[in-house]
Each structure stands twice: as structure tokens, then as C-alpha cells.
Amino acid sequence: MQESATRPLNIVVLVKHVPDAQFDRHLTGPGHTLDRAESILSELDEYALEAALQLAEARGGESAGNRVTALAMGPAAAVNAVKKSLQIGAYAGVHLADDALAGSDAAGTSLALAAAVRAVAESNGPVDLVITGMASTDGETSLVPAQLAERLQLAQVTFASELEVADVDGAPVVKARRDGDSFTETVEAPLPALVSVTDQANSPRYPNFKGIMAAKKKPVTVLTLADIGVDPAQVGHDGAWTAVAASAPRPPRSQGTIITDDGTAGVQLVEYLAAQKLI
């Protein structure tokens, strides 16, 4: 029996396969969806994975019964986000893949992910923590973590810049720090909880050779909507509660004036601002 004071944690980390922001990104097709060539594991999810691994390691890691499952939803290629997570150190992976999911908005995404988390709980035991990045680097809305908390009725601790799980009277409690505009706050929630972490939370580790080899042996479960009991009509383009009617690239900024300081650049700057009626 595990001591209740340090019982292992069952953690699900959401990882998203997103277009690499280092390249130009485009919206295409009638649904104005994102061209997903050149996609990678969302950088912001690496902080979530690192946070999960640290929390599990603080309790003895995988051998002590902790679980860190990386869960990705998306087309076939999205399994790469799961595989990368396994190389970095996740213990197991789940890929929710179903053609009907294409074009899902935040509401549909959170619906499907909530069902997937329930499916993980069914096969793995109760989930203590769902950890996500602070936003996806493609949709950038930050809606999904909060909507997932609402759908799963979990206490929500978002934008954590520091995170620990402490045992209070034998029950694990998540404690976090959040940096607001005019104050910093500490917050606390009993498990189960949903946590999103910022890029201040840690320094994500890189996959090393050992991790890459070990990842090959780690299980990846593929789930469809039928497996998690979600009606395809509730997700994807047709089930979306929002729709994009039109999209256009922002006109490129016209080439500005570049000067090299000859000792008067500060004065020229003020002249420019005055001419633009900015001072």
C-alpha cells in the first residue's frame, strides 16, 4: 500500500500539434482553417509536460505508480506531438483522431477532450490533474483550459508560474502562484484540478538519446469519437458554435524609413513623432 501522504498522481497533459510559428502561417479553404504543414508540438505545451514530469518525479516517478499521459487531439500527423512528448519523458500517450473533429472550435474541442480525459480515467483510474499550456500557439484563445475545467467540473488553476502538489492532511492539494497586472497571488485547489502553466513555470527539458530510444517502447492508444462516446455532429465544422466567414492576411507594413544615427537620431525621432502628431 502507498502511504496516503504521498500517493502517486495520475496526470494527463494536453499536447497540441500546431504549425511552426517560425514559418509563415496561412488560413486556407472554405472553412478558413489553418494549413497544418510544418507542424510541431506547441512550444507552450512543453512547459505543461515539464510541470507534469516534475510533479510525478517529486513523488517517485513512474516506478512509484505515478502516471503522466500525453493526450493530443488532431489529424493523423498529430500523433507526432504525442511521440515527441514520449521522447521528452511522458510515460504513455493517447491520440484522439477522428475525421469528424476537423474544424472544431473551442467548444467542440473542449467537449471532445473532456470525453477523452474521462476515457483515460476509465482505463487508468481517476485523473488527479489535467495540465495544459497557457494557450495554443495557433488559435491563441486560451479558451480550452477553462472550458475543459467547466465541462469536467474541476477546480481551475490557470496561468500558474509556479506549481507544487503538497499534502495537506493526507490529501494532495495543488498550490500555485499567478502573476497578475497589479498583484501576485497564491492559489490553492484540492485535486482533481485543471492547471495551465505559463512559460515562467519551468525550463522544459529536451529529449535525449535515451529518451528517444525509450519512447519507441511506450504505448500510444488511438481513440476515435465512437470510443469516447461523442456524437460526431457535436464537433468539427458542423458542431462548431462559432464560424469564420472571411479571412485575409494583414496588409504587410509598408517599408518604413531607416536611418543610422549620426549623432542627431534622437532629435530626428522627435521630429518624426511631431510630424505624425504623436507628441
Binding site: Q22, R25, L27, L34, D105, A106, A107, A135, G139, E140, T141, S142, L143, V144, Q147, A149, E150, R151, A155, Q156, F159, S161, G180, D181, S182, F183, T184, E185, T186, V187, E188, A189, T198, D199, Q200, A240, W241, T242, A243, V244, A245, A246, S247, P249, R253, G256, T257, I259, T260, D261, G263, A265, G266, L269, V270, Y272, L273, Q276, L278, I279
Partner: protein, 315 residues
């Protein structure tokens, strides 16, 4: 006329510009009604009325000690009573989360990062780090829309406006929620809020630990101070000053970038500024690709000289 419910989490007066913008925008779509996260005193009611609010929903108790869950429950309850044509919120991380949860509670679609809302509720927003503009609609439920600051010109106050009707909303069970266990205030700078500032002077690693010239110029221009992540990570300035993908997205009239290279994550937060000025000693810095006025030079000579010139002109 249909009403538009505006969620405001304003603990004290004066009403921030962002709140006045939301009320003004609501007035172009319908009749502004407010859901106030804090109980409003008479002065607050007068201020809300003078900016168009005809009705103010207030919680029957404090919503403060738990995180967004309680505010979302309050807003959803107010919306169920009011049945507005749309719900508007600000675009801060917290506002977006409240919008997110309210959307699920009401079965309503949510659109974030709006820069315009048409009378037919078509929403214009910037996407992909400001590189695209799109028009979106909510198809299901009451549109829940979070609006970026500096999207509309706030209408002037009308001191003769009639007092708004007050409606108390009983607190409902918000479900499991995190509790705030401690809060430490930061110093108040007296400068405008970064997210809604019309002028921002931002410094990066090139400031080498000395934000004095950035702060001096910001104060002369009545602006806010921003920073790159390199500068906030170094601890030269507080994290809340960070502009970019994981900091604030800003759309000021003027953004002066000082000693910032202009990495994609920094550009993501500022490239919709009306006018961008960049000062960097490296002529190849990516920030010059988007600058309207670029100066290849040393921040420690250019910024102080500009400040001196402004002082001279004003003397």
C-alpha cells in the same frame, strides 16, 4: 431595443478606458447593461450610467476569494435573466476565461480578441499573432465576445444620464474552485495600463539592466513601459510589463521598441501598433522589418537625446 450585457470587473473609479470602450461599443449594438463583479456604490452607478448603462446586475456577495468560476457563474446567471443579444468582456486572460466558462454554461459560442463588432454581431478579430484578420460569427447561443482595448473611441460621459436600474443576482454554486490564499500588491506606477496605453516605450536585452531611459521617455510621452521577455526574465522589470505571445498583446498608437531584436514571439504582441519606432544597434535586427521609423543606433544615446529634445520643445 435588444440589450448588450457588458461584464466589468472594476473595483474602483475612475472607470478605466477599456471599460468605457466596452460600454461605448455595446451602445452601438444595443442598449448597454452591466454585470458588475463588485457591488457598485452610488458614484460607480453614476459613472456607469453616464457611459450609457441602463441597468446594473450585481452579485449578492463577494466573488473575490475564488478564481474565475464564481464570476462566470454570476455572469451566466445575469445573462439568463437579461437574455441579451450579446455579452461583451475585456480581453485580459481572466476575462477570456470568464467568457470561456460562461459560454459553456449558456451553450454559447465565444469569440476572443475582437477589434470590432458590427451591429449584426459580425466580429472582426486578428489571428495568427496579428498576421491575419478574420470575420467570425457565433452560430449557437448568445454571442460571448472579448474585445481588445483600443478598439473603439470611448464616447464622452453624459453627466445628465438617468440612474440605472439595479438588479441583485443571488450567488449560485460555482462548483469546485481554486481559492486565493494570498495576494501581494505591486507598486502602483501612475503610468497607464499597458494593455490600453496609447503610447508604449518598450525595452529589451539591449537596455542592459538600465530601464531609466525607457521610463523617462515613456513618462514624457504619457505612455506605459513595456519589455521583451529577455528583459523581464533578467528581472530588470516586472513580468507584467512583458509584451508578446506569452505577455500582453497591445495595439497602441505608438510603440517604441528599444534594444529589442523583434523575435516572432515579441512581434506577436505588438505588430498591430499603428506606428512602430525601433532603436537597435544591429541594422539586421528583425524589428526593422516592421518599423515605420527605424534608427540604427545606441539606445543610451538616442533615447536620452529624444527626451532632451522633447523637454526643450516644451520649455
Amino acid at each position: 431595443m435588444a440589450s448588450v450585457l457588458v461584464f466589468l470587473d472594476v473595483p474602483a473609479l475612475p472607470l478605466p478606458r477599456a471599460a468605457r470602450e466596452l460600454l461605448t461599443l455595446a451602445g452601438t449594438v444595443g442598449e448597454p447593461v452591466v454585470a458588475a463583479a463588485h457591488r457598485a456604490d452610488q458614484a460607480m452607478l453614476d459613472a456607469l450610467a453616464s457611459h450609457g448603462a441602463v441597468k446594473v446586475y450585481e452579485p449578492a456577495g463577494e466573488l473575490d476569494t475564488v478564481l474565475v468560476a464564481a464570476k462566470a457563474a454570476f455572469l451566466a446567471d445575469a445573462a439568463k435573466t437579461e437574455q441579451p443579444a450579446a455579452i461583451l468582456l475585456g480581453n485580459s486572460f481572466e476575462d477570456r476565461e470568464i467568457a470561456a466558462r460562461t459560454g459553456i454554461k449558456l451553450g454559447s459560442g465565444v469569440i476572443t480578441d475582437a477589434v470590432a463588432v458590427a451591429p449584426d454581431l459580425a466580429v472582426t478579430k486578428s489571428v495568427l499573432a496579428g498576421s491575419y484578420t478574420s470575420t467570425c460569427r457565433v452560430r449557437t447561443g448568445t454571442p460571448v465576445i472579448t474585445v481588445k482595448a483600443n478598439s473603439v473611441e470611448p464616447a464622452p460621459a453624459d453627466p445628465a444620464a438617468a440612474a440605472p436600474q439595479r438588479v441583485e443576482v443571488p450567488l449560485s454554486d460555482a462548483g469546485p474552485a481554486a481559492r486565493v490564499t494570498g495576494r501581494s500588491g505591486k507598486r502602483v506606477s501612475g503610468r497607464p495600463e499597458l494593455a490600453e496605453a496609447r503610447v508604449i516605450v518598450a525595452g529589451g536585452r539591449g537596455m542592459d539592466g538600465n530601464f531609466g531611459p525607457v521610463e523617462d521617455l515613456a513618462d514624457l510621452l504619457g505612455g506605459a513601459v513595456g519589455a521583451s521577455r529577455a528583459a523581464t526574465d533578467a528581472g530588470w522589470i516586472e513580468h507584467s510589463a512583458q509584451v508578446g505571445q506569452t505577455g500582453k498583446t497591445v495595439s497602441p498608437q505608438l510603440y517604441i521598441s528599444a534594444g529589442i531584436s523583434g523575435a516572432i514571439q515579441q512581434k506577436a504582441g505588438m505588430q498591430t501598433a499603428k506606428v512602430i519606432v525601433a532603436v537597435n544597434k544591429d541594422a539586421d535586427a528583425p524589428v526593422f522589418e516592421i518599423a515605420d521609423f527605424g534608427i540604427v543606433g545606441d539606445v543610451f544615446s538616442v533615447l536620452p537625446q529624444a527626451a532632451d529634445e522633447i523637454r526643450k520643445r516644451r520649455a
